[in-house]
Structure formats: structure tokens, C-alpha cells
Amino acid sequence: MALNPPSPMIDERLQDELRKQGVFVTSFQELHNWGRKNSLWPLQFGLACCAIEMIATTMARYDLARFGAEVFRPSPRQADLMIVAGTVTKKMAPQIVRLFNQMPEPKYVIAMGACAISGGPFKEGYNVLKGIDRFLPVDVSIPGCPPRPEALLHALITLQEKIAAETLTGPGRPPHADASAPASYPVPEFGAADLVPPHNPAVFQPPRIVRREK
């Protein structure tokens, strides 16, 4: 997916020339996005082995701090970014959705690893959710089992590009600038064998299978 920055209010080359001369010209939107994309605070929680890779990413060798995202918060009230790192069990899914609802806008979701994006090797299991995108609006998915720390860094950079390309007004603006966007996502209930509902129809529709007769 190509992430194009929004059309600049002034000519980009003129802006570059002015910067070389020490004149800094910007727009509120650009400044706003620049500030937010460089201080994403993730929510501190891990679900499975992917969390080990996430922890490695924050440590000195890969150093997530280079991207301003090293401040893992223990409270959803202080977090901007939810990294769903690992297998989401059906028993855990309502808590994940509840934590996401408790995070203030603007907020983003990275689904890390095969389990978080689809259920992975446990997809047919009796207690594994087939991907957190059934209940939450996932911004970036990282395949891998587990993804290497570089993949998580790439996902963070991709998310930063996505934030830099956000517009504060007009159609396609992000949920935090859109009063009609849902303020929270419904928390599923426990049923006899699965969550009720098994997915949130507003964010996820299972693919319809069409096979041609042989």
C-alpha cells in the first residue's frame, strides 16, 4: 500500500528552499502529525511468544527508542498504540477489546504475528480467536511466527507514515477527528462454544468462498 502524504499547502520545493534559508514554513496538520508520529506510546502487554520479540525490539540492540515509541505504558489511559503480540484466546479477546476501548483517541493497533492476524497455527483450535481484526480496527499487520524485531520496527515506521499522511479535516479523516466514528467497540460476550458475536460486523466480514465447479 502506497502511503502518500497529503497534498501540501505550499509548494514542496519552495518549502525546502525556505528551510535552507532558515525560514520554517509548515502547516498545523503537518506539525500535529509530526509530533504524534514520533511519540507513540505502546500499551505494555504481551500475549505469547511474539511478546518476547517485542521486548527484544525495545532493548538496546534494536532500540525502539530511536522511533520515540519506547515508553511502554502500564495503563491504557496513557497509551496510543496497542501492539497485539501473540495468540489471542477467545477467553482473552473481551479483555483486549475492553483495554482498547479504555485507550484515549487517537489510537492505533498493530497486530503482530500469525496468531494475532489470523489465529496462525492454532486457527482451528477450540479457544483461539481467528485474528484480532475481528473486533478491532487493525492499522498494521505483521506476518511471521514470530516476526523478527526488524519486522516490528518496519510496522512502526509504516504506522508513522500512515499517521504522517492523515488529514485533520475532510473525508477520510481519522476516527479521532471524526465525530461520527464509533467511540468504542462492542465487547463480545462468552457463548457456549465461541464469542457472541464471533466477530464485529462493523470492522470484519468473513470472506465469501466461491469455488468454480471442476
Binding site: 477467545k90 477467553k91 486457527k123 482451528e124 477450540y126 479457544n127 481467528k130 462468552f190 457463548g191 457456549a192 462454544a193 465461541d194 464471533p198 468473513p206 470472506p207 465469501r208 468462498i209 466461491v210 469455488r211 468454480r212 465447479e213
Partner: protein, 194 residues
């Protein structure tokens, strides 16, 4: 390290009439098990824990097995692995079998003897449906309370929640075929995928 035969003799000498037998293990490890009857399980467990020569004071693992031969209801089994921290020996394998599962799967709880059995017996209750009588807090532990059925049993029927697999094969392919939609053109008028 006391052998299973030796333990069997010790238990028979101390607890005459206890229903206990040795289950041979044909593998190279030769860790023969002790099969104990449900009525005498707690007495045997207390003997194994308290006998000064044995002192099996550490219950390391409890697990369940579903023995379901084809065409028979079969029975369920709980297996306890014991070690002695004090004497430095082990493991001793203690096994208990339920009656035919159609008669209900009930076993005596060994949590009063080894406290560490509490969560593991709850797990076996959760996944195999063995009811441990005398357990202080027998609730589901991994699955949610509203869940119905015991998913590790061989007769557990998974709910029909198949949606989509990109590359189905084997049993998943059979499920995929059962869910194939009739081949009609997609609503946008494009060509159906190959």
C-alpha cells in the same frame, strides 16, 4: 529410587486390601505406573507422601488421558507424577481410572494430600470433564464458565465455525469442501476466481 514393584509391595504390606496394581511401561524408560483404585486413592497417596522411606512430597504434574477405543465408550484416566525433594528420588507414576464414561467420570481428588494438585485437577476437569470429588474449588480454569463440553475428550464435537482457509488440505480440505458456496458469478460482475 524405589521401583514400582517395590512400591507395590510396600503399599500392600501397609495397606492390606488396597486396590493397587503395577501397569508396566514397555518403553526403554521402564517407568512402570501404579494403578490405584478410586476407593483407596487418598489412603495410598497419604502413605506415599508420609512414609519415611518414600516421602514423595512433591507432585510435579497431573495430566489426563482419554482412552476411547473405536466403538467403545472408553474411560478417562488421571496420571500423577511424584518426586521426593527430601529423598531426591522419583518420578513415581500414580494412575487412576474412571469407570465407563457413560456412567459419569468421577475420581477422588488428591488436592487434600498435595496442594499443588489444585489447579491441575481443575485443568483436567476443564478439558476432560473428570469430576474430582473432594476438590475444594472445582471450576473451569482455562475455558470460560459458559463454555459447554470438554474439548480434549475424543468425543468432543467442534462447533461448525469454518470460514475460510487460503490453502486447505487434509481434514481442513474436507471441511472447506463442505462449505463451498455454489459457483455463481460474484455480485460485482467480475470473473469468479479459479
Amino acid at each position: 529410587m524405589p521401583t514400582a514393584e517395590h512400591l507395590h509391595e510396600r503399599i500392600r504390606a501397609s495397606l492390606p486390601g488396597a486396590a493397587i496394581s503395577v501397569v508396566p511401561n514397555g518403553s526403554p524408560s521402564a517407568q512402570h505406573g501404579l494403578l490405584v483404585g478410586t476407593g483407596d486413592a487418598e489412603a495410598v497417596a497419604r502413605f506415599l507422601r508420609d512414609d519415611p522411606a518414600l516421602r514423595l512430597d512433591f507432585l510435579s504434574n497431573v495430566t489426563g488421558v482419554d482412552h476411547a477405543p473405536p466403538g467403545e465408550p472408553g474411560y478417562l484416566e488421571a496420571i500423577y507424577h511424584l518426586y521426593s525433594i527430601e529423598r531426591g528420588h522419583g518420578p513415581v507414576t500414580l494412575r487412576m481410572q474412571t469407570a465407563d464414561r457413560s456412567l459419569g467420570a468421577r475420581l477422588p481428588s488428591l488436592t487434600p494430600v498435595w496442594r499443588s494438585a489444585e489447579f491441575q485437577e481443575r485443568e483436567i476437569f476443564d478439558l476432560f470433564g473428570i469430576v474430582f470429588e473432594g476438590h475444594p474449588d472445582l471450576r473451569r480454569i482455562l475455558m470460560w464458565d459458559e463454555f459447554e463440553g470438554y474439548p480434549m475428550r475424543k468425543d468432543y464435537v467442534t462447533p461448525d465455525d469454518y470460514e475460510y482457509e487460503p490453502t486447505p488440505h487434509d481434514t481442513v480440505l474436507e471441511r472447506a469442501r463442505a462449505h463451498d458456496a455454489p459457483a455463481d458469478p460474484p455480485p460485482d460482475g467480475g470473473t469468479p476466481p479459479p
